[in-house]
């Protein structure tokens, strides 16, 4: 069998010397070649920031949704102010009413009514303490105070018209 090692001589592969500038030329050519397409990390950064922001916003909203929805300290303070002013006005109007009313039954009915409305107010106040986030309860509190004040104002106006009629009749006689 023929030995393949003896089939080729060194002369079959003449050794060629590389030029001295070969390395520089190679690097130059390499530098001039169009660069390979880079992966678009910019989009991914924007997407990541966006997702992060959406996530944070959601957590923030979720926390707020479970917390008190309205500023309960502010409501309590405002309500206290309103209550004080209303009660002062109701007291004044009650004294004015007593000054003009002569019908004992009417005075008794109004006293009962105001006592009952005051008891209702205390009950609603308890509900408010338990659930300050419920504006229907706040509404009930305000309406209770308004009812008391309007009842006293309206009845005085009523009495005034009745008395004016009496005065007319007396003048006619």
């Amino acid at each position: 069998m023929k030995n393949l090692r003896n089939s080729f001589t060194k002369d079959d592969f003449p050794k060629k010397e590389l030029p001295v500038t070969h390395k520089d030329e190679f690097l130059e050519k390499l530098g001039n070649m169009p660069s390979a397409k880079k992966y678009n990390y910019r989009f991914m950064k924007i997407a990541a920031v966006f997702v992060l922001l959406v996530g944070l916003a959601f957590v923030f909203v979720q926390q707020n949704a479970t917390d008190e929805e309205v500023n309960t300290v502010q409501i309590t303070e405002e309500l206290k102010k309103v209550e004080t002013e209303y009660l002062a006005n109701i007291d004044t109007e009650w004294k004015n009413f007593l000054a003009v009313a002569t019908d004992e039954k009417l005075i008794r009915r109004y006293k009962q009514k105001l006592t009952q409305l005051d008891a209702d107010y205390k009950q609603i106040s308890k509900e408010f303490k338990a659930d300050k986030n419920n504006l229907f309860v706040v509404e009930d509190l305000i309406r209770n105070l308004q009812t008391r004040l309007s009842l006293l104002k309206d009845i005085q106006e009523h009495i005034k018209i009745l008395n004016a009629k009496k005065d007319q009749n007396e003048t006619a006689i």
């Binding site: 997407a47 996530g55 479970t66 309205v70 502010q74 305000i142 009845i155 009745l162 007319q168």
Partner: protein
């Protein structure tokens, strides 16, 4: 769609986890009851619709439709609703505590100035018909929040304004059973109920289509009352700040410190009033009994030839002082007005 956008959309959906619209059944059960038994409904801060059952059973259905609520928010909401039922000797007791509606995206600015600038609005110059009253009833109850000045909380508003939780609580009752309804801070709606009904409610309101059972009794305190048609029953109003009645006949009203508007006052109506305000828009009536003290009565159609208007005018003339103190006993008209004020309108 590019792969990146798909991933991004998926991430957003996973992150928010918001359910766009979903109906959740809170309670659903049917009960057999005695034909002449009692069904008692106890309501605390809840709204209910009571209507006729098509079979012999009581059907209790409570569901809530959510829009843009997260799973956790839905869970919190549903857990706050408590419905219990108890059946005993063929009678049924249904108790419900609802979740109050909250004005979630509003905050207080102040209420001092507006709340205190309150002025009584007793005068209604516009004459109302039964149709216009019905229209007003359909518009629904408007909360009284005018006295409370609020502003949208911008940080929450955009998110919250699109959210909605719509509860639907329906109780269907068969004919013949006696209904006993007790409510606190609740709205009770009746849809053509002919059952004998005993209702007591404090704070809240009653809205009814038509009531015909003369044995029914409605006690309403510190609330509102809307009825399209009354053909029977007894009503007890105490501090009712708005009562709207389309038409009424064969009924009695005992009224204390309440404001009542009646579009059509028909036959066999008896009213006993103390310090209330009434608006009678159409007095199509030849039989009327009124016993009043310190009442304010507004009568409409002053130029019309009407028995009742004429009866009032025979005692208190239009254009003079509205003060009225008289008793009038006719065949079917019985009027007792003490310390009253009578105003005539066109």
């Amino acid at each position: 769609m590019k792969q990146q956008y798909k991933i991004l959309l998926l991430l957003i959906l996973i992150t928010t986890g918001v359910v766009s619209a979903q109906e959740v059944v809170v309670y659903k059960k049917d009960f057999e009851v005695n034909k002449e038994g009692n069904v008692t409904v106890n309501l605390f801060t809840d709204d209910v619709l009571i209507e006729n059952s098509i079979d012999d059973k009581v059907h209790v259905n409570y569901s809530v439709s959510f829009t843009k609520y997260s799973k956790r928010q839905i869970q919190n909401y549903v857990e706050a609703i408590k419905v219990t039922t108890e059946k005993e000797d063929g009678n049924l007791i249904i108790t419900s505590r609802g979740k109050n509606l909250k004005y979630r995206f509003f905050e207080f600015v102040t209420m001092t100035n507006r709340a205190l600038s309150f002025k009584s609005k007793d005068t209604i110059n516009r004459r109302k018909t039964k149709d216009s009253i019905v229209k007003e009833i359909h518009a629904g109850y408007r909360p009284y929040l005018r006295s409370i000045k609020t502003k949208p909380n911008k940080t929450k508003y955009k998110y919250e304004k699109s959210k909605r939780a719509k509860p639907k609580f329906v109780i269907k009752v068969p004919e013949g059973v006696i209904l006993r309804v007790n409510g606190s801070g609740s709205q009770i709606n009746f849809d053509k109920i002919e059952n004998q009904t005993e209702l007591k409610i404090k704070r809240g309101g009653v809205i009814l289509d038509k009531i015909t059972n003369s044995k029914s009794r409605f006690h309403i305190k510190d609330g509102y009352f809307y009825a399209k048609e009354i053909e029977g029953a007894q009503f007890y109003f105490n501090d009712v700040y708005k009562a709207l009645i389309g038409s009424i006949k064969n009924a009695t009203i005992e009224n204390d410190f309440s404001k009542v508007e009646i579009a059509e006052l028909n036959e066999n109506v008896e009213i006993k009033d103390y310090n209330g305000v009434f608006w009678f828009y159409n007095l199509n009536n030849n039989s009327f009994k009124l016993d009043s003290d310190y009442s304010k009565l507004n009568l409409y159609g002053k130029n019309e030839n009407n028995n009742l208007i004429n009866a009032f005018k025979s005692k208190v003339k239009d254009g003079l002082s509205p003060a009225a103190n008289f008793t009038l006993e006719d065949q079917n008209i019985n009027l007792k007005v003490a310390n009253g004020l009578i105003y005539y309108h066109n």
